[in-house]
Symmetry: C2
Subunit: 448 residues, 2 copies
């Protein structure tokens, strides 16, 4: 079979190729791919991979295209395999508290379907309304509720995967626990489309929390907010959400939205607790951060907590409105948050670039956003921005952290991933990749 | 270097060899191993593996020897590598909520050290006082708190591993999140000593719950108890502990302990909630199970909840006192619990063997215990018991479950593991094993 034998599937329209050339990182924009295949069913996926493996054609799986690492970006000569059309929720089982889905289901749609049964799909990346479950699994996406509920990996029980040669396997199981064989579900989760294409998943659902309670707090500076995070960690409470936003980002939101957030402080924390003890747990947290905070507001109803969430929700859109953001994604040990932020500021000054910082403080996960002028899409990353990014990666490693907590390595962080892993582990990982994809057709040039 | 060059390390004393011939499964008792090496430090582990790889000698890592799958059982020609001496807790970090440990640390010792800082190490297999963290990781052990806190995998951040050829690698990271490279921590977790020897681990600690609340309930029969489990699942509550014990097991405890548990009912559920809303959450559960229960007792202080835990804690020891237990470990979808128990009963009758059932109901994890007469240790599994076990495995797979939820495959369940995985996935897993251990020296004849 040749690509010509699949004409109905292959879209070589210029607009289709262009939109597949990048993801939401906006970078990097190599030559457009050879074609886009919109899979209509799992058989299409098997056919495309069998053909690609036989012909040595690169295949780049693509879900919502919301990735921030350039991992789903189509490159010259590759076929982009778009899974977004496989978007059926096949089952929601409230007795087992699990769902079976196709890979193209939008994250928020799954959570909404679960909500109809009093359940939730816990992982909630900021991109819930545009990312797919398949993409979430392929990147092991985190999210706001991660402080308590962990990452996508913690919620995937079984996967259907089409391997590089077009054969399909089922890994994992539909029970909560099970230890037969190695953890292949874990291996595929976070593999960024390099070990196989995910065509189905069984995921866990959890009871929707009986109640939630929300608090926002402003601080005189971000170091003080970071100390408050440590105090919360030591308080014995387990917040579901613990987010941080710096003063510069608050200023950008004010500029774009016409709000007056920054007058309240130079740093913002958002805390949410949930479950039967939500209010009591929030009170423990409020007491822990009181010595540090300049202003605290709490909410127990949905409308009021939505107001408190505003500053966190509008952070990235505001930065996208004022320039072209290069979105980083480091994690550091939680007790090094203050030091990390202070040194990122110094990097911004020394490199003369604008760096805004927000992130999932509860996980030690910071998103330093380097905002450059709005060059035309496809322009390369400006030298000063790239230097600042490299110094942020080096800082994360120096502080005992990682260069990517949740967005993935993709095409933007490959060299740094190799440095983080070290030669021995990198070699071991490469051998695993070769085992799954001997001809190297799956997303070459990305990840490892 | 030859084994002869490590004389101080190698113990070939008959008693040492005999005790290394089996684990707590009691089975199977092949010829004793060639020697036992008690590692004094990580260098010893590297030396032994480098030597073994060069000479093609089998190495069986061993922690507490509390395994129930014969996975740490020494076999003819192999060297048993005992890690129990590497038992230092290197750090407990309350700011990061993590611990760094050597592999031989006893599970309960780590939890106790964490408790001194108001923290807990959540995974709590029934064997906490005799199993090691290294063994827990190698088997991906579950435990009583698993209903809420998951399994060992969910609590391991980074590992130091000596590979088959004696080289040492560090995988994972010391931050809560991180997606650089494939999930090798997950791959080693549950690999039963077949991919490398764990010589160090960074594990997560969580705040010790502010409060716990405990309830025990008795039911007229085990099907009714299983229906109560479904009602709890649907109630919106998330119990930390949800255990089931059948009437026959209650009877065995009564016989051994002189108690009168079985007069209260033919099935027992133990439920524990924790956290700030513990009492309210327990009340929701009590309301959900009330329509099914014959008798309910609740406790909020430690002494009273210990009394309620008694029946669950004494289950296995009682069965060990009355005969020789063959301990199974299936999981089924939670809604199939009642059917599973009913059919296990039928198997017991048809094969004319005694089968007692208890387990982690919240995870759908049942431990059917086939108790045979007390043959001398080392005697093979009686034919009827093996037939019953095989039928239980087949039943678990038929119901959409697994042949081992937490104890592992080891030497006792290899054929069934291959059946559960299917030829394609089994072949894929075998290739991963070969990649890590090309000479096949790590625990050959066990697991896959
Ligand atoms: C506003 C915004 C907020 C965000 N917030 C978060 C956040 O809080 N946490 C977070 O982790 N990320 C976040 N992201 C990043 C992004 O949304 C996630 O990485 C998401 O998981 C990508 O899903 P997707 O379906 O868009 O995947 P894509 O971008 O299409 O692809 C991402 C990667 O997954 C692979 N892939 C996609 N589908 C499959 C499949 N079926 N099989 C195999 N491989 C596949 C691709 O090859 C690529 O390597 C955010 C992005 C935006 C734009
Ligand atoms: C009374 C009782 C109750 C139990 N309850 C539970 C329970 O609730 N949940 C549960 O999951 N299990 C339970 N078990 C089973 C057992 O305790 C677990 O499997 C435990 O994790 C084994 O730990 P260990 O240190 O004793 O390992 P061992 O028995 O010594 O070894 C088990 C396996 O791990 C490998 N291994 C050990 N250490 C290392 C290392 N450092 N590196 C690489 N491989 C290694 C061995 O090669 C072997 O394959 C119970 C056992 C008993 C006797």
């Amino acid at each position: 079979m040749t690509l010509v034998e699949l004409p109905a599937l292959v879209d070589t329209d210029a607009a289709a190729l262009l939109s597949a050339t990048t993801d939401r990182s906006g970078w990097p924009g190599a030559a457009p791919p050879r074609g886009v295949v919109r899979a209509r069913d799992v058989g299409d996926v098997r056919d495309v991979l069998a053909w690609a493996n036989a012909t040595g054609t690169s295949v780049i799986a693509r879900g919502g295209g919301s990735g921030l690492a350039g991992a789903a970006a189509g490159v010259d000569g590759a076929v982009v395999l778009d899974l977004s059309g496989l978007d059926r929720i096949l089952a929601i089982d409230p007795d087992e508290q699990l769902a079976r889905v196709e890979p193209g289901v939008i994250t928020a749609d799954l959570d909404a379907a679960a909500a109809a049964h009093g359940l939730m799909y816990a992982p909630d990346p900021g991109s819930v309304s545009i990312s797919t479950i398949g993409g979430n699994i392929a990147t092991n996406a985190g999210g706001l509720r991660g402080a308590k509920y962990g990452v996508t990996r913690d919620h995937v029980l079984a996967l259907d995967v089409v391997l590089a040669d077009g054969t399909q396997v089922h890994v994992g199981r539909d029970t909560i626990k099970g230890v037969t064989g190695y953890d292949l579900v874990g291996l595929f989760t976070g593999s960024e489309g390099t070990l196989g294409v995910i065509v189905g998943a069984t995921v866990r659902l959890l009871p929707r929390p009986a109640r939630t309670a929300t608090l926002s707090a402003y601080f005189s500076d971000i170091e003080t907010a970071a100390h408050a995070v440590s105090a919360i960690t030591r308080s014995g409470a387990r917040p579901a959400v613990l987010e941080i936003v710096d003063g510069q980002t608050l200023g950008a939101i004010d500029a774009v939205e016409g709000t007056d957030l920054r007058v309240r402080g130079e740093a913002f924390l958002l805390v949410q607790t949930d479950g039967f003890g939500a209010e009591e747990e929030l009170a423990v947290i409020a007491a822990a951060l009181a010595p540090f905070a300049a202003l605290v507001e709490t909410a127990t109803d949905a409308a009021a907590s939505d107001r408190l969430l505003f500053a966190r929700r509008r952070a990235l859109p505001a930065l996208e409105a004022i320039g072209r953001p290069l979105i980083e994604d480091v994690a550091v040990p939680r007790s090094r948050l203050a030091e990390a932020v202070r040194r990122i500021r110094a990097i911004a000054e020394e490199e003369n670039v604008r760096i805004f910082v927000f992130g999932h403080a509860g996980d030690g996960n910071l998103h330093p956003i380097i905002v450059t002028e709005s060059e035309p899409a496809g322009a390369p990353i400006p030298a000063a921005a790239q230097r600042a990014a490299d110094r942020i990666f080096a800082l994360a490693l120096e502080l005992g952290g990682t260069i990517t907590a949740e967005h993935g390595v993709g095409r933007l962080k490959r060299e740094w991933a190799a440095r983080e892993l070290g030669a021995d582990v990198h070699a071991l990982q490469t051998r695993i990749r070769d085992l799954f994809d001997p001809r190297g057709i799956l997303n070459p040039g990305s990840s490892l």
